[in-house]
Amino acid sequence: MANFFPRWSNFLPIKLFICACVLGGVLTGLVWYYFTPKYTRVGYRPIQPVPFPHSLHVTQLGMDCRYCHSFVEVAAHSNVPNTQTCMNCHSQVQKDNPKLLPVRQSWTSGQPVEWVQIHKTPDYAYFNHSVHVNRGISCYSCHGQINHMDVVGEKQPLSMSWCLSCHREPEAHLRPEAQVFNLDWTPPAGQNQKDIGLALKKQWNVNPPENCAGCHR
């Protein structure tokens, strides 16, 4: 009886195995990169031109977020402060600190300080700060406890599935209006976040969009 399988088929299992390995390796690599914080850059902490310590300004000095991020309640962008805002205090306080040199230079030259952007949503996603902070979503939910950071880093992935997890279940993050800018807030003793969130959701008629048009225009 002649050979039923041609000769080249002897190597077929090995070839298939190698292909499967390569494919599996590539898939693992893709998942490893794209499905983990490596891709979304959680923990990204670039060096800023001026090492602005939020912990000092907010926690120790008690400044409100909105002193610098002044338009967060009215605009889509939460603005970074302009040089004038820094100079309001630093024309008198720490006025010779070498770390503040870029700010002073900016003030005299008129050239803005170029802060490095940390939190970035894609250009086709239209995130709006004002609608979140006015409706009981704290800065904390996306930015973490910035008030305790010496160097600001990204705390959350800011990916679409992460956005949607809250849009599907806002009760996990809703808090009373007065506590939105209090980044240390925790539910009072005897209450839990979920009950508070559900009550507020009902009371305020919170219905975050889950369709594409909510963010993509």
Binding site: R41, P46, F71, E73, V74, A75, A76, H77, N79, V80, P81, N82, T83, Q84, S106, W107, G110, Q111, P112, V113, E114, W115, V116, Q117, K120, P122, D123, Y124, Y126, N128, S130, V131, N134, R135, G136, P176, E177, Q203, W204, N205, N207, P209, E210, N211, C212, A213, G214, H216, R217
Partner: protein
């Protein structure tokens, strides 16, 4: 088993609605086109020079190049760059709105300009102004693109050498000093039409300093004779269209771009809704289909040169009916003309209707017609006591005409000429030979937006400031005083007219609004009070309250009869070969000033649907006579004809225009520019060589010869066709009064029609607001303002002529122009317009076929498009019954549309070169983009989103306002979508359709005229159309055919 869906049969016989002659004739080319998703070539890659093989070569090379770089793997470091010092009012990411005005031929248009971070991005009408009420027009919408045109003039040129503003100022002062010595003898100004009081004031100042200077105002589309004869008394007669029950328009396109403006469109529309007791009736006599003719209840095709004869015959008939012999200036002695074979009964019945509506009628003549016709019309209006005419003061003193200026130059009476705006070398009457005249002058100083035909050879070419870059003012069409503030500093350091005039008058070049403030001070004095507060209010509102002069009763013209007898030129058009040429203004490029505006070049002409070109419009009968009727069938190649008048001739493609008068050829002006940017280069044929001082608007005695050549035209009339499935519906007023909801049960939607059930389940539409739209076909004139507004708002790219021929134009909203006739040989079809955009079907056919869920339904009833999910299968477009989806076949936003020179390949469009050409659009064009709308890339499907960015902004604003309350539902009518905002006729209404919302659209959806498209398919569209209602005079010839569909339909409601 596969079930083939059978559409209900079209009713046999009766009236047909069609878009092109091909469709009407059912040619094979048309059938092929119909059965394809996109026209031949649109979905393939097989034309000119770039074969599949070459394409693969190029792609291979570019991939290898891209691989070498490997730089795109890391997220780039981005910077946040705040201001150093805060700018007043500026909130990053929030637009600001400023009032200003756009100068125009028929008065300035009050505007509100949206600026994002200091960049003006969108122009809209000023809703506070009592006349325009927020409406705008095509040119205002598109003017923003001219501001950012990268081809604009950027440098001061001194005899062709680059110079600067300081040198120019010094030079100007020297010239002024020289001229002042002899009172300005030899000084002349050639300026454009502008009713700015400040310019008029500065004119006075300059003429005070140089009393011997001459001031000439020229605009090729403004009839100087009318101003001279009719406005001699300092007042002109303006129509009050909203007061008229019966209107007769003689060659007067008062609803189109030609002679209409926002005011006239609005005034006509308010009297058109059939709910009111008296609906106005419109008779139109014209040589070609205009938008006004399309709206008309009765329309007579008549060569433009015979309009005078018509007016005379009408005057005579009205004189006979009213026993007023004075109406005929010739006392019956002169026959109107040898060939006044108007349709029998037309003159008589129209005259009877006008006499029956004595005092409530209105006869209007177009500015193309000579003063004699206007005088006849005035005498008719006066004899009938028509109150719909009012006298308005004339804002500016007339100057000398360009003919007189040319004579002065020939007689060596001029040595220094200032040309402020305009382009006389291109558009002055041909017999003046302006280019040679200009060359003969020692000093010519020219201020212009572009380095164009006129700039060549000037001693100084000065870049002009765009109206959004300069302080100005103006008078609206009702005479109210408008402010004009700059939105941005001059991008290229341009000077405005006022800057030049002020400098000449010895004033410093204004740094701010000083000149306007001085004019304002004089005008506002009457109102008294605090100047600073009044000025701020003026800037904020955009106009000075109550500044419109009260209209006075129309003034009669005493010696009208004598003028008519002396000047009436009633040319004859007898004989087979007699032709007239009519020079019409282009709905896209105006007199040529918008030739480099790509939005306008690609905007289909409202009637012919022609883009990127002009053509000689001829009637089907004329085409038959010339033997070219069959050659125009087909998709792109059109026969070329040679049109000659006297010794001048041009060669131009001929386009058969249904409804055009025989013996008449209409040619739009403004094309065939020789020196312009990349957009205008090569677009169309220049018709100005045929136009002389004696025959500025129409010339008889033209000759036409078929050359045998052909020329490609980009026509969109057959693109995105829908098999004529009863999409547009109309009826007569009597029909409507008997059965108001007739449109619901017409054609395929007959009462017993079966609707298909849906096989798919849909997520619930339970959003707090449900968005929908109503489009009133009765109000829509088809002016295209919505199309450009949508383009500006939604960052819609242009694709270029070649791509339009392939059917790839990107407009999200289009105006389908239908002709309606009872048989294919009918030379008098009716015309109906229907704006077509995504219908946001509740059972959307596109959604069910998308393999990646890139198009889905929102809970508020929107058919939304997630661009980033789209993989470009185009199944959705294939399955869309309305053909409103647009595919980015190329990277229109990032690659140059213009053809590039490629070694070995010749000229190839930059689009096709892809990565081999430079990427990115010019910086200035990027500044125009709306930051709230994604700029789409290649391979993405897009379509109308109902301006989802405005919806979301409104929702966010309401939620921000709600804070810790539950009032999150968007209140009724707090925002408008872009097309609705622009519409001068208020034909488009958008809003929340839920009955309890109290919105305008929810009320209009209950209108009995409402119907939805393709209802029998059970698509449940969110756009309701309101059927068009015509108001025919049943005694007129052909009245039984107007807006009726078939005989049975006509009888049914009566029985």
């Amino acid at each position: 088993m596969k079930t083939i869906f059978h559409h209900p049969p079209e009713p046999e016989g009766g009236k047909k609605y069609w878009r092109s002659l091909d469709e009407l004739a059912g040619t094979p080319e048309f059938r092929t086109l119909l059965e394809r998703e996109f026209p031949q070539g649109a979905a393939e890659f097989n034309d000119d020079g770039l074969s599949r093989r070459n394409f693969l070569k190029l792609m291979g090379a570019s991939t290898a190049l891209a691989g070498l770089g490997l730089s795109g793997c890391h997220r780039p470091e981005m910077h946040l760059v705040p201001f150093t010092k805060s700018a007043e009012w500026a909130i990053p990411g929030k637009p600001l709105f400023y009032a200003t005005s756009m100068p125009g031929r028929r008065g300035a248009l009050p505007l509100i300009v949206t600026t994002h971070d200091g960049r003006p991005t969108k122009v809209d009408g000023n809703p506070m102004h009592p006349v325009t009420q927020g409406a705008s027009d095509v040119f205002a919408q598109a003017s923003i693109l001219n501001l950012y045109d990268p081809d604009r003039s950027r440098a001061f040129l001194n005899s062709g050498q680059v110079s600067d503003s300081d040198h120019f100022s010094a030079s100007l002062d020297k010239i002024a000093a020289n001229l002042a010595a002899n009172g300005g003898a030899g000084l002349a100004f050639l300026v454009e039409h502008d009713n700015s009081p400040t310019r008029e004031r500065l004119r006075g100042e300059v003429l005070k300093k140089f009393p011997n200077a001459a001031w000439c105002v020229y605009d090729p589309l403004v009839n100087d004779e009318l101003a001279r004869v009719l406005e001699a008394g300092g007042a002109r007669n303006a129509p009050r269209i909203e007061k008229a029950d019966v209107i007769l328009a003689l060659d007067c396109d008062f609803l189109g771009c030609d002679e209409g403006d926002v005011e006239t469109s609005r005034a006509f529309a308010v009297r058109r809704s059939p709910e009111q007791k008296t609906v106005n009736r419109l008779y139109v006599v014209e040589n070609r289909y205009t938008l006004t003719g399309g709206v008309a209840d009765h329309r007579l095709r008549c060569p433009a040169s015979q309009i005078g004869a018509f007016a005379l015959a009408l005057a005579r008939e009205i004189g006979r009916l009213t026993g007023n012999g004075g109406l005929d200036p010739f006392g019956g002695a002169r026959e109107p003309s040898v060939n006044t074979n108007f349709v029998a009964g037309w003159v008589e019945k129209t005259a009877q209707d006008l006499v029956a509506h004595k005092g409530r009628g209105l006869v209007m003549a177009g500015s193309r017609q000579p003063a004699a016709v206007h005088l006849l019309v005035q005498s008719i209006n006066a004899a009938l006591g028509n109150e719909a005419v009012a006298a308005m003061p004339v804002a500016t003193k007339p100057g000398i005409t360009i003919g007189e200026l040319a004579r002065n130059i020939t007689d060596k009476k001029v040595n220094t000429l200032f040309i402020l705006g305009g382009n006389p070398v291109y558009n002055a009457p041909a017999d003046l030979e302006w280019a040679a005249l200009q060359k003969s002058l020692p000093v010519v100083i020219r201020v212009g937006m572009y380095e164009d035909e006129t700039s060549a050879g000037c001693n100084w070419h000065v870049p002009a400031a765009h109206y959004l870059e300069a302080w100005h003012d103006g008078l609206a069409s009702d005479g109210s005083y408008l402010s004009g503030q700059p939105m941005i500093l001059p991008l290229f350091g341009g000077w405005s007219d006022s800057d030049i005039l002020a400098r000449l008058a010895g004033l410093p070049k204004p740094a701010g609004p000083e000149l306007i403030q001085e004019t304002f001070r004089a005008r506002a004095r009457a109102t008294g009070g605090d100047f600073a507060a009044a000025w701020n209010k003026f800037l904020h509102d955009g106009f000075l309250e109550n500044s419109a002069p009260a209209p006075k009763p129309a003034a009669g013209v005493a010696d009208g009869g004598a003028y008519i007898r002396d000047n009436a030129n009633l040319p004859t058009l007898s004989g087979e070969d007699a032709f007239e040429v009519v020079f019409i203004s282009s709905a896209s490029v105006d007199d040529g000033r918008y030739a480099n505006n790509s939005w306008l070049q690609e905007l289909p002409d409202p009637v012919t649907k022609l883009t990127w070109d002009n053509a000689a419009l001829i009637s089907p009968a004329t085409a038959r006579k010339l033997g070219i009727e069959s050659k125009s069938f087909g998709q792109k190649d059109f026969p070329v004809v040679e049109v000659s008048v006297g010794n001048s001739k041009i060669e131009i493609a001929a386009l058969i225009a249904p409804g055009h008068a025989d013996h008449s050829i209409s040619i739009p002006l403004g094309y065939g520019r020789k020196v312009t940017g990349w957009v205008g280069a090569g677009a169309g044929v220049d018709a100005y060589p045929l136009r002389t001082s004696a025959t500025p608007y129409f010339a008889v005695g033209a000759k036409v010869r078929v050359t045998g050549g052909s020329y490609p035209l980009a026509l969109t009339q057959d693109h995105h066709t829908m098999e004529g499935r009863a999409l547009v519906r109309e009826g007569t007023i009597s029909h409507y009064r008997e059965k108001p909801d007739f449109a619901k049960t017409m054609w395929m939607d007959a009462e017993n029609a079966v609707r298909n059930p849906s096989l798919y389940s849909h997520p619930p539409m339970n959003g707090l607001n449900q968005w929908g739209m109503v489009i009133d076909l009765n109000k829509c004139t088809g002016c295209n303002a919505c199309v450009v507004a949508c383009q500006a708002e939604n960052n819609i790219p242009i694709v270029g002529k070649e791509q339009v021929i392939n059917g790839r134009e990107m407009h999200w909203i289009r105006n389908d122009r239908y002709f309606a006739s009872w048989d294919s040989l009918d030379d008098d079809p009716e015309m109906v317009m229907e704006p077509m955009l995504c219908q946001h079907c509740e059972n959307a056919p596109c959604e069910t076929v998308c393999p990646v869920n890139a198009t889905v339904h929102s809970d508020e009833g929107l058919n939304v498009m997630a661009y980033n999910r789209c993989i470009g299968t185009r199944y959705c477009s294939n399955n869309c019954p309305f053909k409103v989806r647009r595919f980015n076949f190329f990277d229109y936003q990032q690659r140059p549309v213009a053809a590039q020179d490629v070694p070995f390949f010749g000229k190839v469009s930059g689009l096709k070169l892809g990565p081999l050409t430079e990427k990115g659009s010019p910086d200035t064009l990027k500044m125009q983009k709306n930051p709230n709308v994604t700029v789409r890339m290649r391979g993405i499907m897009e379509k109308c989103t109902f301006c989802v960015q405005r919806i979301e902004e409104a929702k966010i604003a309401q939620r921000v306002k709600a804070r810790d309350s539950d009032k999150v539902r968007v209140p009724a009518d707090v925002f408008q979508v872009a097309c609705q905002q622009a519409c001068p006729a208020e034909a488009i209404v958008f809003g929340d359709i839920l009955p309890d919302s109290g919105s305008k659209v929810s009320r209009l959806r209950q209108d009995p005229r409402g119907y939805t498209l393709l209802d029998y398919l059970n698509v449940n569209s969110r756009i309701t159309y309101l059927a068009k209602i015509r108001n025919p005079n049943m005694e007129m010839p052909g009245a039984d055919k107007v807006a009726t569909f078939d005989a049975a339909q006509e009888e049914k409601p009566k029985g």
